[in-house]
Symmetry: C2
DNA sequence: CTTTTTTATTACAATTCTGTAATAATTGAA
DNA sequence: TTCAATTATTACAGAATTGTAATAAAAAAG
């Protein structure tokens, strides 16, 4: 379930938004002001922040800037003000969207989902169990420690992790790794590569928890 | 300069938007309807599409779906309708934003810039001259042809391309490639790696157009 | 012009990668 | 259980990678 931090000092409005979003399947946490909001943000993990731009006890723009400096959680501004300058200022501190009151509930949900969707697309890391690929640097780590993979091992792992939970047939894998570059490799080569990858990323290669064999079909990366 | 495709059948409005955006430094191409719009989109390259949802000769939603199926150019809906269902439908076909008329020019610009910014962040390819790194697959191509890089060469190239136009000191590069994994390498090693990369990605390694030497400082990837 | 510093190039062993083959283990079916 | 098919493992050469050292070339300084 996606969790949302709502920072809004208008209690009735907050209750209304909160109720509606809960009904849509979001987990909503409500903070009444800047102090609470920032504290909550720093202690819990949220998928999205809904932020009233005009709080009584502080500046919404500053909160947004702070949140953006701490990571890349999407921030959507809520505002009564129809002031255009305000909107521009909101985007300038890195906001992802800006919605004027009065809110139309279904549009609010659509915009939240849009922000979440766009956001997940910008991931540069692929994770599975305790193994992380940082595709922006080309580095693979297991439990935070770097794992050295060869060029082909790296591409094979990327293929698995970007299709986490999905079965990849031997044919599909061979195509992606070899056929596209015009080469043909023997039937057993993939078995060997799987073995080599398992040796490097599994706790126990003899009992793989990440790269599962689907007999007669292919392999699958699982995260559990 | 960022190029924008404006698909809008209300001529005076189009002229007004077009004029304003041009003044803001965008290159605006105006299409009066679905047919022209799609044709233009398929023949030219745009950084963003502004799309009237209610065109006389077709359905804006369908155009958006088509554009999104062809790639991931950001699409922003423009609409007179304050209909909430319409907004939701817009996001459901993959729109990046949805702006109701009347437009406030500066907000329009802010939202366009926001869409462009979010978009560039989700790039999985790094380009420089005719060399492209597809970080989602771990593949490097030059003029569309695959270039085989070793693991370290790949990481070095990523470092350069994700800092295109920025000078990287020898120290910084060595840190990124070696020191972080606790190793220490000789002073000349980087020279050799630069040479090897140039041999693989430059037209003429003796006269590098991509990986430039900044004497006394380090290296820089340039795109011109 | 000469010297010094910096960068480029070449060549070289040690290591790793890559694909194949042979063999072993496992699984599912007869 | 027995057999056949599939997958895993090991071992091995040829190729590529990696880091170093020696030398050459280029650029800046004196």
């Amino acid at each position: 379930m996606r969790s949302i931090l709502l920072i809004e000092d208008d209690d009735p409005l907050a209750k209304s938004i909160s109720g509606f979003l809960s009904g849509e399947g979001f987990k909503v946490t409500h903070a009444r002001g800047q102090t609470d909001g920032v504290k909550l943000f720093e202690t819990e993990n949220f998928d999205c922040v809904l932020l009233d731009i005009s709080l009584e006890d502080g500046n919404g723009l500053a909160i947004c800037a702070l949140i953006k400096s701490l990571g890349d959680t999407p921030v959507i501004f809520l505002t009564a003000s129809a002031d255009e300058t305000c909107t521009v200022a909101g985007f300038e501190v890195g906001a992802d969207d800006y919605i004027g009151k009065p809110f139309r509930p279904r549009e609010l949900v659509a915009r939240i989902k849009n922000a979440l969707r766009k956001h997940s697309g910008s991931q540069t890391t692929l994770k599975c169990a305790d193994v992380v690929i940082d595709t922006a640097r080309g580095v693979v780590t297991k439990n935070g420690e770097e794992v050295f993979l060869s060029a082909l091992e790296y591409r094979l792992l990327i293929l698995f992790f970007s299709n986490k939970g999905i079965l990849l047939t031997r044919e599909r894998i061979a195509d992606e790794l070899w056929t596209l570059s015009g080469e043909f490799v023997g039937d057993n080569t993939l078995n060997v590569y799987i073995k080599r990858l398992r040796d490097k990323i599994e706790d126990d290669a003899a009992e793989p928890k990440i790269l599962k064999t689907i007999r007669g079909m292919g392999y699958k990366a699982v995260d559990e």
